[in-house]
Symmetry: C2
Subunit: 334 residues, 2 copies
């Protein structure tokens, strides 16, 4: 694989130009460009420039409204709904997080339902931003039904990622963000592109047989949940919370209505935010947690979730990007 | 294994007598007896009569106060704290659930921190009770540090069970309740008692070597998380939420302070409750969810989490209990 070095500013500028060319207005294009730049900054390649073509396709097909103005609706004393109005998710999320953080700090806990959004990124930007406001955060989305439940052979769950963040005042939050499938779809697509094998147990081919070939899984095959029936239960929880709980579609419903333009389908998302300062009643809650986290960080063979991304973030230099991918995005940005 | 048939009423009466003998007052003994009877009713043997000796030991050692009067404290508009005052958890939980359900129905979402509680049961009674109030529910507890994080060889997490319930008006809720270790401690202790092997990957022996002998894991060995680094992240989330987030001890702190009488150590618990009716804004939220759940239930090889327990519950007849266990409890009840 040949690579091309791009600075973070160049990444932002390329994405912004590609989105504006495809019809996004400034606020929407800026929000998506920040999301993609930050993904490349943190080494989260499957959610970086790799996604630009899909974002552009969804604007060109008319599925996503690049001029949408997401609206926040107060639903009850501790819940809000954000109608993304068919925007790409990032602008809706920036507005949602600010409102949700304020509400959780006043109420102790708050929830946000996001509807009519098109999510095509990682989830850690959401939980990390809430944690940077001193809040414990949890979020999940569903997608199209690619994943079979444990014991089954028909796909019904999305890859249903779940992200959690723990605030660490003065430090980067502890953050995990994981597909509840054995592997994230973006990682399978990248493995297929790069001709790499995936571990047995990741998925089945179109004939329902186990395979290590990611292109067989991505083309007519199905994914399996991580961790057997326990991981399958977590996938089920995310599926229910990101759909009926927020008033949005299940993964199998989304698959039936999406126009399959290669961009993000419409869907829902839940966000929960909890104030540990309020709930614990302990002004030293963070010191208490840091004693525990220090033990974990000092344990041989163990790394805190999110630590590699935060390490990557310290590098302000250019990123080496797949040259073919850079060419694709440059064409779109012309 | 020889067994002795006991009716559900006989189970309740035996447990109640054993707890009263050991110093519990009526309200505390009743709450624990209901919890144990319901566990046996649902086939959840590792949380049934098997636990009575431990409950009794914790009363006799003075660690648990059988006359405690758990108190509910309103902390913020959407959060409550329940000081269990060193009671066994069931009485504190009955009070917590009633207050939390009311708060979540008014606010849309609410959280409860339980502190100074001694939890020795399954978690599904809590989430199921909240779901029977029309709420989505999530709870978790930690314990003593028996479980190593993925990649590590030192125990730092408890078995950290997580339970989730989805309300199904007119039906039993969908409920999962799972240790985030590869196996629950109670199940390992039962396997050791019955001389059964456990799957490789469940834990390591005292020398840090993989073993299928549950007694080697339970005596000086360590447990591993389910599902590799993803399951380990879930275990970490439960550990943080059941300790620093609610103002209680981490598993490793509990292990240092517990008197090791064989009963439940003191600790914390978090409970979250969300109104899908409020958050979704969809009066048909349940019908929508039922369409999805019907698909899942009709899928070959798939069973909804909790379905086996709810099936067991329909049997109102006597339960066949390990005879040695019955003798132990009868002695305590004399």
């Amino acid at each position: 694989m040949t690579t091309t070095p791009l600075t973070l500013d160049e990444i932002y500028a390329l994405v912004y130009a590609a989105l504006r060319n495809a019809g996004s207005n400034d606020v929407n294009a800026s929000a998506v460009s920040r999301t993609i730049r930050n993904a490349e900054r943190d080494g989260s390649h499957s959610h970086g420039l790799f996604r630009v073509a899909g974002y552009v396709k969804s604007l060109k097909s008319g599925k996503v409204d690049g001029n949408a103005d997401p609206e926040i609706i107060k639903v009850s004393p501790s819940t809000i709904r954000v109608d993304a109005k068919n925007a790409h998710a990032p602008l809706a999320l920036e507005r949602a997080i600010s409102a949700l953080a304020e509400l959780a700090q006043a109420q102790g806990i708050a929830a946000c339902a996001i509807v009519r959004s098109h999510h095509f990124a990682a989830l850690w930007p959401e939980t990390e931003a809430l944690a940077e406001n001193g809040l414990v955060a949890l979020t999940g989305v569903n997608y199209k039904n690619w994943v079979a439940p444990a014991g089954g052979r028909e796909p019904i769950f999305g890859t249903n990622p779940l992200s959690f963040a723990w605030p660490r005042p003065g430090k980067s939050p502890l953050v995990f963000d994981m597909a509840t499938s054995a592997m994230a779809l973006g990682d399978i697509q990248i493995a297929a592109r790069d001709g790499k094998e995936v571990p047995l147990g990741t998925g089945l081919n179109a004939e329902g047989k186990p395979t290590t070939d990611p292109s067989q899984i991505a083309n007519g095959g199905i994914l399996l949940p991580f961790g057997g029936y326990k991981g399958s239960a977590i996938a089920l929880m995310v599926e229910l919370m990101a759909s009926a709980m927020v008033g949005e579609a299940f993964s199998y419903e989304t698959a039936l209505t999406d126009n399959n333009d290669g961009g993000p389908p419409p869907g829902g998302q839940f966000l929960l935010a909890i104030s540990p300062a309020i709930l614990s009643g302990n002004p030293q809650w963070s010191t208490h947690a840091e004693q525990f986290l220090a033990k974990l960080e000092n344990m041989e063979g163990v790394r805190l979730p999110g630590a590699r991304r935060h390490q990557n973030r310290l590098d302000t230099g250019p990123r080496d990007i797949n040259s073919e991918l850079v060419e694709t995005v440059r064409e779109l940005a012309k």
